[in-house]
């Protein structure tokens, strides 16, 4: 199919007085696309609208050119892995996938073969007949992803698949998602509230904040936009005044604001990477002790605030 696989225009969804999506506009092309935004930004609402679980209050959304609401034929074309755990502890992955396959009208030998194949793809072949109750978060996520792909859909929708997993589990899922696209040809839309996790998966991102798509495109362009934004960095040191004198000489430092104790200050810098590169040599040169140095803007919330111009 030519053109975007997902298309949304002026998509809004309210839950009473709470806004889930607010005039959300997006075109998502085939491949892997990351939906990035802080908790409560509207990622899950977008997925629910996309999967036809809820209706938009206003606006339109299309998947493969079709309206998803009550569109049972379209349900064959995607597999959905929700952000919550919908697995029964008493089931085995094989039971779960056989059930999901049954919902897609599959059965018998064909389904049994597909279940084995999918379990191998997600690396759960050895645990196929173990009770899910004893699984780690990463294994549960991989089982859920297997459930989304048992009917071999064109598009996989993975809502926060990395959430709650340990570093090893995260790495396995990231590798799995890449493999599902490269080797098995699935288009994938994956959401996360952690920018660098999505960065490891894809360069194509949609940044969502307070229900709006605030940035769409290549992640390096978005990173560039973020880096141009003045960052606030907290520095704590007994020799804060000495340090501050040298900071003002740096071309990328915009301002310095001392805290009342004068042992810490908020340093506003234009290019945080340059600042962090220069900082160790400056400390070494002055021979001073630094208790803490951290960026106040290192959280997504501030990045999103910047992107929406707040």
């Amino acid at each position: 199919m030519n053109g975007p696989i997902i298309w949304a225009r002026d998509l809004s969804r309210w839950y009473g007085e709470v806004i889930g999506l607010n005039q959300f506009n997006v075109d998502i092309e085939p491949g892997i696309t990351g939906i990035v935004g802080p908790n409560g930004s509207g990622k899950s609402t977008f997925f629910k609208t996309l999967t036809g679980l809820i209706r938009p209050s206003v606006g339109q959304i299309r998947m493969f050119g079709q309206d998803p609401w009550n569109n049972t034929a379209l349900m064959r074309d995607f597999g959905f892995c929700p952000d919550f755990d919908n697995l029964s502890n008493e089931q085995t992955p094989r039971d779960f996938l056989t059930f999901v396959g049954g919902l897609h009208g599959k059965g018998g030998e064909e389904l049994a073969k597909r279940v084995d194949e999918v379990l191998d793809i997600v690396g759960m072949g050895d645990a196929a007949d173990r009770k899910i109750g004893g699984f780690s978060k990463g294994m549960r996520q991989r089982t859920k992803i297997a459930g989304a792909m048992v009917h071999n859909p064109k598009l996989l929708l993975l809502d926060e698949p990395l959430s709650g997993t340990d570093p090893l589990g995260r790495r396995e899922i990231i590798d799995l998602v890449k493999k599902l696209h490269r080797q098995h040809g699935h288009n994938i839309i994956v959401s996360s509230h952690v920018l660098h996790e999505v960065e490891r998966l894809t360069h194509q991102v949609v940044v969502i904040y307070k229900g709006r798509a605030v940035a769409v495109g290549d992640i390096s362009d978005i990173r560039g936009m973020i880096d141009k934004h003045p960052h606030n960095i907290i520095v704590e040191s007994k020799e804060m005044e000495e340090l501050a004198k040298r900071f003002v000489e740096m071309p990328f430092v915009v301002s310095i604001q001392f805290n009342p104790d004068r042992r810490s200050a908020i340093v506003q810098v234009q290019q945080p990477d340059e600042f962090f590169n220069a900082f160790p040599s400056l400390v070494e040169e002055l021979g001073c002790e630094v208790d803490k140095v951290y960026s106040l803007d290192d959280n997504l919330e501030s990045v999103f605030r910047y992107l929406v111009g707040w």
């Binding site: 839950y15 629910k48 999967t51 036809g52 679980l53 809820i54 209706r55 009550n70 049972t72 034929a73 349900m75 064959r76 995607f78 959905f80 929700p82 919550f84 919908n86 008493e90 059930f99 999901v100 049954g102 919902l103 897609h104 009208g105 599959k106 059965g107 459930g147």
Partner: protein, 251 residues
């Protein structure tokens, strides 16, 4: 719409809902109710000196048909889909390529099969205890009639409670009102007002099935009227349930 997919999917949901009912913690309640009925049957068998079919029909109809049956159906019928909406496990089913009618019918079949099996087990255990004391000669028609009435009651009550579970967030309150006020209170009113209760129609059917006991002398509706009324009730409840289920959102 691919009919084979719809049928296979419906049967998958039927099996799934049957398992869900049987493995739920509420099954403990079924055992408690079974123990209650068995105790009453045992007590009844020690109180009478000879085989009294009439006595059995009277207490079994009051306890099983008009109390245990609606209560069990209410407990399972009002929670089957509602629980899945609350814990969001319905997402997997709602995003499958099955039309909502197929899904709803799948749940309904699972519910009536499981509740029917539960009711047959409850009734049979009490029946065996009561008549085991005296012998089973001539009791086959009693057993068969109760089974028929219980299955008909399950089909009717299930259609109502499943539909209601989609309307109310806490359908159990409606269920309690319906079972204890509507059915037991209004259903026993004198005159025509009792015709708005389901148990009036079950009694009417029972009056044509039993030759002894209180049910046999019940002055109810004709078999034809009863059949049409119950069939219409189930059909309307199912259509309403399917419509609500189809246009309901699952956030």
């Amino acid at each position: 719409m691919d009919m084979a997919t719809q049928i296979k999917g419906t049967l998958t949901i039927t099996r799934y809902s049957m398992c869900k009912v049987l493995v739920s913690k509420r099954i403990v309640l079924v055992f408690a109710i079974m123990a209650l009925f068995c105790s009453v049957a045992f007590y009844g068998s020690t109180e009478v000196e000879q085989k009294e079919r009439e006595e059995f029909i009277n207490f079994a109809s009051a306890l099983v048909l008009f109390f245990i049956l609606p209560v069990i159906t209410m407990i399972y019928g009002s929670s089957l889909i509602r629980d899945e909406i609350v814990d969001r496990s319905i997402t997997q089913i709602a995003t499958s390529p099955l039309c909502k009618a197929s899904i709803y019918i799948g749940y309904y079949l699972g519910l009536i099969i499981t509740v029917s099996v539960i009711m047959v087990l409850v009734f049979t255990s009490g029946f065996l205890i009561y008549f085991g004391e005296f012998g089973f000669d001539g009791t086959g028609d009693i057993y068969g009639s109760f089974i028929k009435l219980m299955i008909i009651g399950t089909v009717v009550y299930s259609s109502l409670f499943m539909m209601v579970s989609l309307i109310f967030r806490t359908p159990i309150y409606f269920g309690l009102f319906f079972v204890f006020i509507w059915e037991l209170f209004i259903g026993n009113f004198p005159g025509r007002i009792k015709m708005v209760a389901i148990n009036h129609y079950l009694r009417s059917l029972g009056s044509n099935m039993f030759t002894v006991g209180e049910l046999s002398s019940y002055n109810g509706s004709t078999v034809g009227d009863t059949t049409i009324t119950l069939a219409a009730f189930v059909t309307i409840s199912m259509i309403l349930g399917i419509l609500i289920f189809t246009y309901k959102e699952y956030p």
